[in-house]
């Protein structure tokens, strides 16, 4: 359904510097499944999502290489017209900030129906209305009629987030890309939104890419997990398997940094140091300067991706989880 092969991306910095933001990323997403993408801010996870729908401004891109294929379409080679057909109709985006992603001067109805008319200008009012109501119901609005004429500022944070989801669902895209859709929402509401999204992909056999820095949230929705660090895909595989026994030291540190809710009180363990900026990445493994397990070899060159048991992949010379095949 979606396959990314050896994709690298360099962006132009504001002062002409060239920033390598993604390095040799290879990923696959099957129909009807959900891929979680985890990483800190600055790890390249959102840039990858934008690249899949070719949403990055062309002026900002220095070079792209590799291959992104979605539903038979070669994204990097596609024309703008082909991409326009893709966005909204085949790929739906749920953005992080509903307050900035929604137009404050349009009602909820207008925001959602806009996508319908953009792709199907000849649709009848009744048909468009039907789609809008269905999307709102799927996004978890109990009585959508009440809110159709509301402006974004009249909706609560949770409702705005649902409205964003409805906008992404309205044309029933085969792929939904959700970029941190539940950050800054309280747990109870998060659970409702997440289980709603999860149900959506299960019932309709849609696929989803779910981006978050919170591994707990990712565990709740995704089947497979890809962990990003400083523009590199450091580990991928089945979500449960990775969280139970992380192979890359970065994944292990990320799991330990997660606040726990268990009987015994144990403070989360911080990761020392900070994420390197794209131009100051170490020569060796991208995590080598912060890694507690790093040896001399780790500082020499980027490790190749190796495959472990359970079809897990890791970009580390000395993975913590064994089972080489």
């Amino acid at each position: 359904m979606l396959s990314i092969d050896n994709f690298s991306l360099q962006l132009k910095g504001s002062d002409g510097r060239i920033l390598p933001v993604l390095e040799n990323v290879s990923l696959r997403l099957d129909k009807g499944s959900c891929l979680g993408i985890a990483g800190e801010s600055g790890s390249g996870k959102s840039v990858l999502a934008m690249s899949i729908a070719a949403l990055l401004p062309t002026g900002a891109v220095h070079s792209r290489s590799g291959k992104i294929e979605f539903d038979g379409c070669e994204i990097l080679a596609a024309s703008e017209a082909e991409l326009q057909k893709l966005r909204g109709r085949k790929v739906g985006f749920v953005f992080q900030e509903p307050m900035t992603a929604m137009n404050p001067l349009m009602t909820l109805y207008e925001q959602i129906v806009e996508t319908v008319y953009a792709h199907y200008p000849a649709s009848s009012r009744a048909d468009a209305d039907k789609r809008v109501m269905l999307a709102l119901a799927r996004a978890g609005f109990k009585d959508p009629e009440k809110f159709l004429e509301s402006y974004p500022h009249q909706l609560s944070g949770g409702m705005r987030q649902r409205a964003m989801i409805a906008m992404a669902l309205v044309l029933e895209p085969a792929l939904i890309i959700a970029d941190e859709p539940t950050t800054a929402i309280d747990a109870a509401l998060q659970v409702q939104l997440l289980s709603g999204l999860r149900r959506q992909i299960e019932q309709e056999h849609h696929s989803m890419i779910f981006i978050s820095h919170d591994l707990g949230v990712i565990r709740a929705v995704s089947d497979r997990l890809a962990v990003f660090y400083a523009g590199c895909l450091v580990e991928s595989g089945a979500t449960r398997s990775i969280l139970e026994s992380p192979a890359h030291p970065y994944t292990a540190d990320l799991v330990a940094a997660l606040p726990r809710l268990v009987e015994e009180r144990k403070l989360p363990v911080p990761i020392a140091g900070t994420l390197p900026s794209p131009e100051r990445k170490p020569v060796g493994c991208v995590y080598s300067d912060r890694c507690r397990h790093a040896r001399a070899e780790c500082h020499k060159a980027r490790p190749e991706t190796q495959t472990l048991a359970e079809s897990r992949q890791v970009r580390c010379l000395f993975p913590l989880f064994g089972g080489h095949i």
Binding site: V191, L215, A220, D253, L261, R265, P268
Partner: protein, 334 residues
Amino acid sequence: MNKVQGPDKVLEVSALSRSFSVEKSLLHGAVDRLRGVTPQSLRALHEVSFSIDRGETLGLLGESGSGKSTLARVLMGIYEPDSGSAKLCGKDIFGQTGNERLAVLRNMQMVFQDPFGSLDPRMTVRQIISEPLKIHGLMPAKEVDSFLVKALTDVGLEAGALDLYPSEFSGGQRQRIGICRSLMLNPALLIADEAVSALDVSVQAQILELLIRLRSQRNLAMLFISHDVAVVRQISDRIILLYRGNLVEELPADKLLSHGCHPYTRHLLEAALFLREGKCLPETAPTVSLAASGMGAGCCYLSVCPKAGKECQQRPLLHEIAAGHRVACHFAGK
């Protein structure tokens, strides 16, 4: 490190209430008044009482709209309360003006959620962290620099940071600057309003570690406000839970998982256990009602409570069911 001395109760809040009128356009408001319709109001805080001891961290949990931030703002004097009182180190916070108010508030400082929005982008770190000293007229005449550098190193920043601007720092470092600023006056109480919510998990842990270290070094009392159950439980000694402006439960942090018993507390815990520990959700979990329902005379949780019965038409009072454990639910402890 100079520890703050004084009475044992750093903060005592009693029956604090604050409501907001629900905004209407000037015209609609005027028409309503002519018709004799009383303007609608939203009760953001409803007779909330609690206290914090010296060196103690009180966690404040609640969903968005529960009144968490309103409480912090009322305490800081950003909003006036409708009724109720609060004492900081034995002195009344409300009803003071000018220099007296400034002197009281010196003992209470705030760390904000947004590490980008809460620092003036056009001020250097030197200006940012010395501003509280200037306002309170406490700028040391000599060796200002060594004083500021010491404050910075206390929060894990280097001396070189003094003449840089906020934009030159990462989110975690900016939060350290915010914490440094809040500690400049050596307050007895720190109010941290979602101080780690905007940060990445790995950085979150760094800031939590810093807050815990500073707390024990300075015997600092802290009101730690967050919607994240796991974080609040890890850092707090005691926890209070707010639901739509009402204090529904208060208990020691150690007892939250095992003894938390208000239906709202259980609901929050189940959601948090699902997200943090991958535990299954029970089928009976109530759905959150998004529309703000009217505030009747009954229990604030009535409209969504799975346990609701006849007695819930009357507002339950906060009553003690075990040492240090108070609940506002008719069914608690029965």
